[in-house]
């Protein structure tokens, strides 16, 4: 197992180094007796790997210094910075692989950030107000970017927001987030089972709503990381959430409350 790992580590070295010394490194590993010695060699190989890709990246290339051009008519020498440097294919593959891994890790980490700086909604083309509907989330037309800046009265932010009609609230001050939450605020009435549900804003910055209902009391709602514009999960309750539905004009017209396995659909008053 350790031998296989070591072979992998050797193979990850730059190709020029690997071709020249890979077999010998493997030979030396085979000469080690006992696990501690093999582990020490393995550790040394990993350090060598880091050293080769960071400090010795230029080794193996035939670096040709950029030729010094003769002075031009204005007597200022010009330098040719695009010399015959060409990365090896293996280096390109390694670089592409590392880039993909970094991209994947970044994309994976974004939803888990404690501060949702970017909140992207993709509404339907031709009707930007329908971004909350179920259908609109599957189609893409343009982006709505909600950015929460630190300065509430940033004049630059206002100019961007007003000058770009296709970007809704491109850079929003904190109170702008409350406007987005305002669209959910109101009374919702269900006939079967009979229930009066009230939605209020609980916290502007945290984008929290509060739900009041006689049978359930006050519940705190937080945007769902999966569908933040439409679904709000009930804080502290498992598998409980509120799913808002918008009409053709993009106005919130009803909600579906899923609480403790029961579903209550209520129309907005």
């Amino acid at each position: 197992m350790l031998r296989r790992l070591y072979r992998c580590a050797v193979r990850l070295h730059p190709s020029s180094f690997r071709r020249r010394f890979g077999d010998e490194m493997q030979y030396i590993f085979d000469q080690q007796r006992g696990t501690p010695a093999a582990l020490a060699v393995m550790l040394d190989c990993v350090l060598s790997l880091l050293r080769q890709w960071t400090l010795r990246a230029h080794v193996g290339f035939d670096l040709v210094p950029a030729p010094l051009r003769s002075p031009t008519s204005d007597h200022i020498p010009s330098f040719d910075s695009l010399d015959k440097f060409q990365p090896r294919p293996s280096a390109m593959i390694h670089g592409a692989l590392l880039s993909l891994i970094l991209l994947y890790m970044t994309v994976f980490a974004v939803p888990y950030s404690w501060m949702h700086v970017l909140n992207l909604h993709i509404p339907e083309a031709g009707n930007p107000n329908q971004h909350l509907s179920r259908h609109s989330e599957k189609s893409s037309a343009h982006l709505q970017v909600d950015v929460i800046p630190t300065e509430a009265d940033d004049p630059h932010s206002k100019s961007i927001a007003s000058s770009s009609p296709r970007i809704h609230a491109a850079v929003l001050p904190p109170r702008r987030a409350a406007i987005l939450l305002d669209q959910y605020v109101g009374k919702y009435i269900s006939k079967h089972p009979p229930a009066n549900i009230s939605i209020q804003i609980e916290d502007y910055r945290a984008e929290r709503l509060s739900l009041s209902m006689a049978a359930a009391g006050h519940l705190s709602l937080a945007p769902s990381p999966v569908s933040p514009g439409r679904v709000f999960v009930i804080v502290g309750a498992q598998n409980s959430y509120v799913d808002f539905t918008a009409d053709a004009q993009g106005r919130i017209c009803s909600l579906s409350l899923v609480l403790n396995g029961k579903v209550i659909t209520a129309q907005r008053q």
């Binding site: 030396i28 060598s48 010795r56």
Partner: protein, 117 residues
């Protein structure tokens, strides 16, 4: 001292020990590691990664020459290395520098010269 050599001094510990190990005879990589361990009485041990990283540098500077595998050797993967004349000059220069350091240290610390004991 040659200015070209002087610009490479002081040598790193690994480079110095590798050159020193090859000063006696041509050795393969594992042999260099064993020779270094012997010379330093087991205090300094090189791993293969460090060894070949430094060997690569020394070969580039033409201080060490790669001879390739030897006929009739136990393992065909083993390649032998030889100290070049340039490498020997660098080793001499480094030895002279270290001798000066030792002399200065003995003088400052008032350690008697071992030859006079």
């Amino acid at each position: 001292m040659d200015e070209k050599i002087d610009s490479h001094l002081p040598l790193s510990t690994a480079s110095l020990h590798i050159l020193l190990a090859l000063a006696g005879e041509d050795l393969h990589g594992y042999g260099i590691m064993q020779e270094i361990a012997r010379q330093s009485e087991g205090i300094y041990r090189l791993g293969p990664g460090t060894l070949y990283d430094n060997l690569q540098k020394l070969i580039q500077r033409a201080w060490v020459q790669e001879l390739g595998p030897r006929r009739g050797d136990d393992d065909p993967r083993r390649r032998y290395y030889r100290l070049t004349d340039g490498g020997r000059d660098v080793l001499r220069a480094e030895t002279a520098r270290l001798t000066q350091v030792v002399r200065e240290a003995r003088s400052r610390l008032r350690i008697p010269n071992p030859g006079r004991i």
